[in-house]
């Protein structure tokens, strides 16, 4: 194959232009631009669950379903309450019938009656989306339908979601599911419409025992922030490195 200098240069240019075209589709941020975007945030939402106060009434789950239009009888929920009963033989009995929507009005757990004399400890643990700082669900979304807002809440764009389910699989806390009506990924978003409007989240408002609270981590005077910074709080599955922002008081080692 013969190739003149002119021909060689022509082809090199053509190749370079072709290679450059796809690069045009990516937006590059100047370092200053990126910094300006982060400094503006004076707000980082965090959740505080006091498991010592929870009695398992399930009014939070009930309120959440109504507030966020999750079909009432569908077996999915943005938040749920788990019951842990640890018996003297070291066994742990866990259940969450209907996600705890109707409360716990029987001592039976999964059809098994447990003798009160045999109980070492028993308690209730409410769970919800942890609004992680490193959300694995967002990392895996192939279309940019789920994202983190500047105040730390992870949202799902229902118009953009293609329903692939990667995020449902990626969440180590199992908080994601498909909305039975919209057929898109769904999860707790701290009642974003309420908290941005100065209201409390539906579950926080409904809780008669103040077991659920929310606050702004960037505000050192916030009573919830004070508890999180000064008291002994725990998060779920810390070892995953997701940096969850739902903090628990009085969490037992049996809770996973």
């Amino acid at each position: 194959m013969s190739c003149s200098r002119r021909e060689f240069l022509k082809q090199t240019m053509a190749g370079a232009v072709t290679a450059a075209i796809p690069a045009c589709s990516v937006i590059f941020l100047a370092p200053g631009e990126a910094q300006a975007m982060t400094d503006g945030s004076k707000l980082r939402w965090a959740f505080l669950v006091d498991t010592e106060k929870c009695v398992g009434c399930g009014l939070c789950v009930d309120a959440c379903k109504t507030e966020n239009e999750i079909p009432y009888d569908a077996p999915v929920s943005r938040t749920w309450v788990e019951r842990y009963v640890i018996t003297k033989d070291g066994e742990t009995h866990i259940d969450s019938p209907n996600a705890g929507r109707d409360g716990f009005t029987t001592s039976e757990i999964r059809g098994e009656e447990i003798d009160p004399e045999n109980i070492d400890k028993a308690f209730f643990v409410p769970k919800l989306c942890n609004q992680c700082d490193n959300p694995p669900c967002v990392q895996v979304c192939p279309v940019g339908a789920t994202y983190q807002t500047e105040d730390g809440v992870v949202l799902v764009d229902r118009k953009w979601c293609i329903g692939c389910g990667y995020c449902v699989m990626a969440c180590p806390y199992g908080v994601r599911f498909f909305h039975p009506v919209h057929k898109t990924a769904e999860k707790c978003n701290f009642c974003y419409h309420r908290i941005t409007d100065g209201k409390e989240a539906a579950c926080v408002q409904a809780c008669p025992f103040e077991a659920r609270k929310m606050g702004n981590l960037r505000d050192p005077e916030d009573p919830v922030t004070k508890v999180i910074t000064n008291e002994r709080v725990q998060v779920l599955k810390d070892e995953y490195g997701t940096k969850p922002h739902v903090f628990y008081l009085g969490l037992d080692e049996k809770v996973r």
């Binding site: 075209i21 009695v55 983190q148 008669p208």
Partner: protein
């Protein structure tokens, strides 16, 4: 260059080009990186407002107190002080304009959420006033005897 090299090359360029042109029309203007991370902040900005516009259902007891002063004052002095009106009366959205009367949940099941006694030593549940829902006044609504707005047993 030989045509068996050039032809697929032009085809590839055409495909990439048409995708880029289609992208201009199909991707909304506000879709992109809005924050400091490509990984976590790559999204459609308009969706944040869409979520903020989601309609709230629960109004909170302060709104109820504007008209139902008597009831809110009564419950404020009782052990049910921390119960939201809407926990039993249902979400207040649309009341009183569209929904004249809110349907109150007067079922036993609602009361039993807290007041069915569970012998759990390390939980606050066992510290609440509790009964066995399967034995105590079975099939009768609790409010026939107990006033939910002022449930003190001494005043019965």
């Amino acid at each position: 260059m030989k045509s068996h090299v050039l032809r697929p090359l032009w085809l590839a360029i055409a495909v990439v080009g048409s995708v880029l042109v289609a992208r201009i029309f199909m991707v909304p203007d506000d879709f992109g990186v809005h924050g400091d991370s490509f990984t976590y902040n790559f999204y459609r900005l308009g969706n944040v407002q869409e979520w903020k516009d989601f309609p709230a259902k629960y109004q909170g007891r302060e709104r109820c107190a504007r008209c139902h002063e008597e009831n809110t004052e009564e419950i404020a002095t009782s052990k049910h002080v921390n119960m939201q009106c809407e926990n039993c009366h249902g979400p207040g959205v649309g009341h009183p304009k569209q929904i004249k009367k809110l349907p109150v949940n007067a079922s036993r099941e609602l009361c039993l959420r807290c007041h069915h006694y569970l012998a759990y030593p390390s939980s606050q549940r066992s510290a609440l006033a509790g009964i066995d829902g399967n034995k105590h006044m079975k099939k009768k609504e609790c409010r026939k005897c107990h006033n939910p707005h002022h449930p003190n047993l001494e005043d019965m």
